[in-house]
Subunit: 194 residues, 2 copies
DNA sequence: TTTATTTCTTAATAAACATCAAGTGGATTA
DNA sequence: TAATCCACTTGATGTTTATTAAGAAATAAA
């Protein structure tokens, strides 16, 4: 299992000493999800952070019997359920693998021990949240005030593998439109291209 | 000027020692904005954090000549331009006072010095970002997948003073609808109530 | 106070998007 | 192989929301 890519990402945020890393690594476990396998379910409290080595996870909540997709996580993503992990309240969201997915799993407790033990990790913790936060703010800005077609184009541009790997209905829900409408948008775009 | 409310908020997140606080206070300055006065403009890099003692600030960006409102900050809010402050890139957003507004202003540099000097402040920094992030995530969830009327009701419920203090067109833009449409929603709601 | 100016409302029309219903094609299973 | 299922497409129709334009009501300026 490839711990190195995780290390690289963290190093890119702030430096980590070798003994800190070795200490941290002890807490890792690994998990392989099949297609459509559930990672976390709503109403659970999220007590783990994961790193996606390979694969793809989406998350959604239920609104009047419909699944509303709120996020997509590709390989090299580090994430948890932000609200539940930080506030220790039950998840609203469900997390499901769209492909066979390989994960590094790190217990929340382990992370907080690292924060206590090393100032550098406390900083890493801050900077990782800052990073997540700015990314999510930017995504919001790209969506806000735009029509469905613009949102779709902006999403496709930011995630090249998206169309091949994510079913239309998941993308549609993520964009807050119906599958039928997205299908028509695609048709319109393909016509205007040729 | 009331530094105590700021202190209370921070203490609510994680404990601060008296000498840490006194050190921190040295960096404070104070600013009073008139109605419609600009706090920060787009293309500037945001190098300050502010605390709103009294008043109200909104922010927006320009899209095809229209102002698109993305945030509202009421008294007791602590904020900066997330993207610009953290990544030190130019702001996309403009920040303007909707009322006479009194602020505590803290330079970014000062904050980062506090982070270096005190582990407790590094933690405070992390927890403040976590707090901001979870709040923004929750707001997104309240909006996502909802029609304009539901979004309006959810917003009004979360901010009681809103209707009296924020002009309709600002609220409409924040909800991503036209002022005309919000006006009709209000009419419909007032009719169905009586 | 009177005049501007802005904010809000209302109506008619148009665009964006949803819903319902049916059909196609590919993949999975019996 | 046929039957079943699922993802996607297409069309007809309805709802939501935007646009344009005009007028009323509130605010600010003269």
């Amino acid at each position: 299992m490839d711990k190195q890519s995780l290390k690289n990402i963290l190093q890119g945020v702030t430096p980590i000493l070798e003994d800190e890393w070795q200490n941290f690594e002890q807490y890792f476990s690994f998990r392989r999800l099949n297609k459509n396998e559930i990672l976390w379910k709503e109403n659970e409290v999220c007590n783990h952070l994961v790193f996606i080595n390979t694969g793809l996870i989406y998350c959604f909540y239920n609104k009047d019997g419909k699944e509303i997709v709120t996020n997509l996580y590709f390989e090299n993503s580090i994430f948890y359920d932000d609200y539940s992990f930080i506030r220790q309240e039950p998840c609203v969201l469900n997390y499901v693998a769209l492909e066979v997915t390989e994960l590094i799993v790190i217990p929340r407790i382990a992370l907080y021990e690292m924060f206590d033990k090393y100032k550098s990790f406390e900083r890493l913790g801050r900077m990782m949240v800052e990073r997540n936060h700015t990314i999510s703010i930017k995504e919001q800005l790209n969506f806000n005030g735009n029509k469905a077609e613009e949102k779709y184009l902006s999403l496709v541009a930011s995630q090249p593998g998206l169309i091949q790997r994510v079913p239309l209905k998941i993308i549609a829900s993520y964009l807050n439109i119906t599958p039928e409408h997205l299908s028509r948008i695609r048709k319109k775009l393909s016509v205007s291209q040729s």
